[in-house]
Symmetry: C2
Subunit: 451 residues, 2 copies
């Protein structure tokens, strides 16, 4: 049989895996410095935990795991008779694959609340699964990389999450713009326009601004029956560039004022910090998902530095006042952001930003000519590894050409060739593969050189 992979899934080769490890380790190191702790949750969750949390469309995209054994024996007979797939599912499948990391996190917090120290700061880097139609850059299995705090409404965390973005993308050498807004400012905008009750529709429309422009947003709002006076007010607010200009619009909106105040606190804290990337207030930032209630974030590649990169957001998040309410634990405010690891991977590749050392964790391969030098090479190998140097001995003293081909294939920076002469003198031939330069050195000098 000719093997294949399911649509929308991928293998990762050593080079790809090393690059992904580089991204995740870079991010993880920053998380740890900021006091975040890792958790892991299982891939399979009860369907009752997942269903109804991602809207109707989300429910459609859940991967469901078939119950084991004679699953039909407990199947819904009526649904079976009617060949009704949707009605049958819950009786033949009780588990599903996790769709994101937020719902499992909320479940985790509720189930472990007595053992956790609040505010609880966690990060989580694990794959999720969605039955989306596979297409370029969209997979059915992909990693999410989330960092959240739950159990505090301090705006310190909004500042820190912004700093985390700054620090991670500085480490990855990718200049970005971090955009900030606040859902309360959007609520204020709706109130200022006299359509406080149409907040969700307004937000959904603004979320499309990038694609359809201001005129498109106005048209969409009109088509939903929102009058011209209101849409013009919204247009005016959307044109605001500075946080300080907003107050004038929000004289009658307490919520709007609160949103301004929150963002001011965050920017004020950040004024004490040395940042390498731009932090921008952006009143047009909406983040479609409607569970956010406070500050919202979005990260994009800085097009001033990289004008050719066409790429959506590579990170985003926000504050949600009631993270765990759906599982019965009330009044737990949470704030978190996530890193779009798959997109970050693609951008770093496009810009050639992976350090060369990422792919080269093997330092040297030893090549030998016969049984005697092979055996001697095995001893040399021990000395290298004892010194902590990642090293290999080609597994047999075969044709030198074949051994060299292997060393090239592994993209190794150095080889050591051992013939009978080298073995007698103890002066081994160290070859720098890129330059082709060769030197005769004893093993101590080689260890020094490669350490």
């Amino acid at each position: 049989m000719k093997p294949s992979l399911p649509k929308g899934t991928r293998d990762f080769t050593p080079q790809q895996t090393l690059r992904r490890q580089y991204i995740f380790q870079t991010i993880q190191k920053v998380f740890v410095k900021y006091g975040f702790q890792p958790i892991e949750t299982p891939a399979m969750e009860s369907l009752s935990t997942l269903t109804g949390k991602y809207g109707e469309e989300g429910d459609q995209l859940l991967f469901k795991v078939l119950n084991n054994g004679d699953f039909l024996s407990k199947a819904n007979a009526q649904a079976l008779e009617a060949r009704d797939s949707a009605a049958l599912v819950s009786s033949i499948s009780k588990r599903g694959l996790r769709y994101d990391l937020t719902v499992p996190f909320a479940r985790f917090v509720v189930m472990n609340q007595n053992d956790l120290t609040f505010p609880f700061k966690r990060y989580q880097i694990q794959p999720v699964w969605r039955a989306d139609r596979p297409q370029k850059g969209r997979y059915q299995e992909f990693y999410q990389c989330d960092v959240d705090v739950v159990g505090s409404d301090s705006l310190l965390f909004e500042a820190e999450l912004t700093q985390i973005y700054d620090e991670v993308f500085t480490a990855l050498q990718l200049p970005v713009v971090v955009k900030l807004n606040n859902r309360k400012i959007l609520a204020g905008m709706a109130e200022a326009a006299g359509i406080g009750d149409r907040f969700v529709e307004m937000t959904m429309a603004i979320d499309k601004l990038d694609k359809i422009g201001v005129e498109g947003v106005k048209k969409e709002l009109s088509s939903r029956g929102i009058d011209e006076q209101a849409t013009e007010k919204i247009e005016q607010v959307l044109a605001v560039k500075e946080l300080s200009e907003l107050s004038a619009f929000f004289a009658d909106s307490e919520t709007g004022q609160k949103g301004i105040e929150e963002l001011k606190t965050v920017f004020d804290l950040l004024s004490d910090v040395q940042l390498n990337n731009q932090m921008q207030f952006d009143v047009t930032l909406a983040r479609g998902l409607n569970y956010y209630t406070g500050c919202i974030f979005e990260v994009k590649v800085d097009t001033a530095a990289h004008p050719d990169i066409v790429m959506g957001s590579i990170g985003g998040g926000g504050r949600y006042d009631d993270l765990t309410g759906v599982f019965g634990m009330k009044d737990m405010s949470g704030v978190g952001v996530s890193f779009g690891a798959e997109r970050i991977y693609d951008v770093l590749e496009e810009l050639n930003l992976y350090p060369e050392t990422v792919a080269q964790n093997l330092k040297v391969v030893i090549l030998t000519f016969d049984k005697v030098t092979f055996r001697y090479g095995f001893k040399i190998l021990q000395q290298l590894r004892t010194a902590g140097i990642a090293a290999e001995l080609y597994p047999e003293p075969t044709k030198m050409k074949k051994q060299m081909k292997y060393a090239n294939g592994r993209d190794v920076p150095y080889t050591i060739v051992i013939g009978s002469q080298e073995m007698e003198s103890g002066e081994l031939s160290l070859k720098h593969m890129k330059s082709g330069e060769q030197e005769k050195l004893n093993i101590e000098s080689i260890v020094d050189r490669l350490s």
Copy 2:
């Protein structure tokens, strides 16, 4: 709703996750030093890739993922009519969760053969899923940690895998015994006993030796119709302690002689190496799985060092002459071992072998009294983090008792308390939490101390 987890699955708390990271990183570091490269494969494989690879019992234990959408529309009508779950499965599910890492690895090698450099040395640390009945220490989702070489029959790799075991368990401070045998020696045993054609049955019986003793093995062989002369010969061979004593039995078994020779080569290579753990030839080691064809390995906790530990093998593996044949790529010899990560986790916990630092990646929490000192604390925080120190500021200047409770809950080694006096003088109060000792130091000295 009260949330719960599916049976046989687990959450990992920060402490557990950090300890798991410690185990995996320790193992991974050794793999890299030995020239192994990471790959990752998707959780979901085509059922056609998985089915038939793990025996009939294994097929029962595969988790199958329901096709999305109106899956009944393409269901096998006859099976549906007959309410035949087993016959229905393949028409409503085309994907399953991976059952181990070996079959995905073989598939990976076949699909990527043109891009790989052979011998291909890979490691892979990922979860697998099995619908086993959950019980203490047995989960439906658990990690495997495999390291394999494919494309070479050099016995160098048998030696290196033994070294890897030695080095990993040395780093984990867990003394072990690595047992080695060779399936060719078992074949020789069968030939010596005149039952070469009953090799698999003999091996299965010997595999139970630990549980049922020699008499039990003999009884089982008799019950399968193997005569007394043969079972006595087998008993004699099973009593052999030294490799050198075996030759006498294998005068007429070329395969047996080959097995001795292979093991001798491995032990001879290892004689050049400084090992910290015991390597033991064990003629009774059988490893039930019958795809092994050469050397086989098994690791157990050294009961001389830890007599109270009752635990099965914590690692094992072997050589298989035809790893990829099932996917149409012939003559690829492979050898590999795996680490029983879940059991290793339990043993380290039982023996209290986790370094204290594993749980303490947060170094210090800053506690403040009011808005002004909070703001000053935020600046101090930046200086600590800039120096690479994992640090936190308690997110609000609330009651000191509450802040201290948090610091204790995080098990943090140090706190810094900042009142107005400390702020004025710049001499901050650094408290060592375990001893309770406090010192007044400026921020530069604190950075030095904590770095």
